[in-house]
């Protein structure tokens, strides 16, 4: 359940449209059901009044859209960013992917987003309505008369359970309260894998990656993946491949996808959110983050704009690759 209400966001958007500060508003557009919101640009107050949504299903991270939208649209864009989204925003600024002057950032307090698949697991398939009800979500089904009450904290997305920070690292204005960076158990799963034997790990990943349908959603949604032409789409790269034809292609794609954003990945968790097969892709990214932290000192991508990421940096006394395998079996 979000502490902020839709009304507060709508009022802010209308106020900024009215006083001419912004021309467009990037927000979540209502869908057919209560959980299928689409990122969208709103230009008028009527549109906002009718279709703007803010609730527990506002997962999409808008930062990446700014790359395209700041080029396409005339005038300043208001964007609502959750704390985790602001890290991606900074990282894109670091890489000069869009003009900061064209964006007005309203940071919004976030209490964690709900995972519709977890809700379906509890309430069953065939959901007709989902309404917030205090700390609970009241989920009505096509089949039962009585709605099921589900505690919102029980159906949080994985990335929200392991939220690294409720703090906005960048904003022009803040709605709700500023949170703090927090300790999270986000590396626990990685550690669990590290403690397995090499054979067990191979089995784990083989099973997970074999489900990949190579839809590229993880790549296309990733705010760090902003190459104009991806190596996997480029017929001249020699690595273009449209399908997970063999185990190798599955490994190759996922290693390179995660590797290419290593040092730039802010751990926003969009890759795992959008995966139609629910492969825990964040475990690959977090491995890189964990390694970077332990080899080269703690580093949070997107903490501030203009940081130098560890992979384009070095010190003379860096750990040697031959010394890295200390703890793991």
């Amino acid at each position: 359940m979000q502490k902020l209400t839709r009304g507060e966001l709508v009022r802010k958007a209308e106020e900024l449209l009215d006083n001419g500060e912004v021309k467009h508003v990037l927000g979540w557009r209502a869908g057919e059901f209560d959980y299928d919101l689409t990122p969208s640009v709103f230009d008028t107050k009527d549109d906002i009044e009718a279709n703007f949504r803010f609730d527990d299903f506002c997962g999409p991270n808008f930062s990446k859209y700014l790359v395209k939208k700041t080029r396409e649209l005339e005038g300043k864009i208001l964007v609502f960013l959750k704390p985790c989204d602001t890290y991606s925003f900074n990282e894109l600024l670091t890489e000069h992917r869009f003009d900061r002057e064209k964006v007005y950032v309203v940071g919004i307090e976030c209490s964690g987003m709900a995972d519709i698949f977890k809700i379906k697991e509890i309430a069953g398939e065939g959901i007709s309505k989902i309404e917030p009800d205090g700390e609970y979500l009241s989920v009505a089904s096509l089949y039962d008369d009585e709605p099921v009450k589900i505690k919102a904290s029980d159906v949080l997305e994985e990335r929200c359970i392991n939220c690294k920070s409720k703090k906005h690292v960048v904003y022009d204005e803040l709605l709700g309260e500023e949170g703090e960076e927090q300790d999270s158990g986000r590396f626990e799963e990685v550690e669990k894998l590290e403690k397995m034997t090499s054979e067990e790990r191979f089995g784990f990943w083989k099973k997970e990656l074999s489900r990949c349908i190579r839809c590229n959603a993880c790549r296309d949604v990733c705010p760090a993946c902003t190459c104009e032409k991806c190596v996997f789409d480029n017929p001249d790269s020699g690595t273009q491949n449209k399908s997970p034809a063999t185990t190798f292609e599955e490994q190759n794609f996922h290693i390179i996808r995660a590797y290419h954003v290593a040092g730039r990945c802010t751990d926003c968790g969009e890759c795992s959110r959008v995966c139609p097969q629910r492969i825990p892709l964040h475990l690959l990214n977090r491995k890189f983050i964990k390694d970077i932290d332990s080899f080269y000192g703690d580093y949070q991508a997107g903490q501030e704009a203009g940081q130098r990421n560890p992979l384009i940096d070095y010190t003379q006394n860096d750990i040697d690759p031959s010394e890295i395998f200390g703890g793991a079996k």
Binding site: E32, P39, L142, R211, C215, A217, R278
Partner: protein, 353 residues
């Protein structure tokens, strides 16, 4: 003739089927809260979920398929047919939407110039469809005149609380039932009348369909010859504005049939294979001059126009969407064919969009 078996003997029935041919069954994938088709072996339980994430089109049109191989020795090039003898197999639990999707694929792959790879697999596969009893909010097969309680397929089946009913429809289906009867001691003849519990189930399912959020979705304004009406619609800009250009919708779709043919250089020659392609991709139908659809809007439009206009134009008004709802569930930004249809044909009576 309808045949039946007690639900408590369902596993035995699967065992009997798998004694004479390979049987594929939707099974649960617990860690991902979804289901997928797997070869039946003892102990595997059929999933109760409505549908699998990947559609059963994989059985006839796999994501990757080797077409031929080339081997070179000096200046000699050998062309090798890599096709292997397909064995008979049965797919159980195909829903009405997916069963209709095979008709859509058949039109493309079997008419005019038949695709021998597809045809061969199709000839060896028996579809045992399963009527729906619990449609979900993303279902809209009724929009395309599909009756989920009377699915297509070689053998139709209904699963009620007590019994599983099987009714062969096609010649292939009859042969399958014959084979099954010759090994089975649990399959019984049930008569030709619709059993009472099936009739009751159908009635209930139809009641639920009327309650579905997409019940009013209509295909009437789409179809053959409507290209000019919708091609230049100003709505496409807004509809496609946040499309990521990923291939999720196309790859979970039971009717999307575009593929690419590629060569892979092995250590000793070349393998020519085909793999699914998506019109949403920036390198789709890439030519020397680039790809003809420069922007995501054009790619996005292609997908929906193909399903709602071009395909019906080519194939007697049959739509190439079957309303399975997979793209409604899986699109990362929740933009889908239902929203496209509603936006392009606004309802004046205060419809929500």
């Amino acid at each position: 003739m309808i045949y039946s078996c007690e639900i408590s003997h369902l596993d035995d029935l699967f065992k009997e089927i798998s004694s004479f041919e390979k049987l594929y069954l939707p099974v649960d994938e617990n860690e991902s809260l979804s289901s997928r088709y797997e070869v039946y072996s003892e102990g595997k339980k059929m999933s109760d979920r409505l549908n699998t994430v990947r559609s059963p089109k994989d059985f006839f049109f796999p994501q990757t398929e080797n077409l031929m191989a080339f081997k070179t020795e000096g200046k000699k090039i050998d062309i090798i047919d890599v096709r292997q003898e397909n064995e008979d197999f049965a797919v159980f639990g195909v829903r009405a939407c997916d069963a209709r999707a095979f008709k859509v694929l058949d039109n493309v792959f079997l008419k005019d110039v038949p695709d021998s790879y597809y045809a061969d697999r199709r000839a060896h596969g028996t579809i045992i469809s399963l009527a729906c009893s619990r449609p979900v909010e993303t279902c809209f097969c009724h929009t395309f005149d599909i009756d989920p309680t009377e699915p297509d397929g070689d053998v139709k089946s209904w699963k009620t609380e007590e019994k599983l009913y099987l009714e062969p429809v096609t010649e292939k289906g009859n042969k399958f039932i014959e084979k099954l009867l010759s090994v089975s001691d649990i399959l019984k003849e049930e008569g030709t009348e619709t059993p009472a519990d099936v009739a009751k189930q159908k009635e209930q399912t139809k009641k639920i369909i009327k309650k579905l959020p997409l019940y009013s979705l209509s295909k009437e304004k789409f179809g053959a010859g409507k290209t000019e009406e919708y091609f230049n619609s100003p709505e496409w800009d807004k509809l496609s504005e946040s499309c990521l250009g990923c291939g999720t919708c196309t790859f979970v779709c039971p009717t999307c049939q575009c593929y690419d043919i590629k060569d892979f250089k092995t250590n000793n020659g070349v393998i020519r294979y085909r793999c699914w392609d998506s019109c949403m991709y920036s390198d789709f139908t890439m030519m020397a001059a680039g790809q003809p659809r420069h922007h995501q809007k054009e790619r996005f439009r292609q997908r929906f126009m193909h399903k709602l206009v071009y395909y019906p134009t080519d194939y007697d008004g049959l739509f190439s969407c079957v309303g399975c709802g997979r793209c409604l569930q899986k699109c990362p930004i929740h933009m889908n064919i239902a929203k496209v249809m509603k936006t392009l044909t606004p309802v004046s009576d205060g419809g929500d969009k």
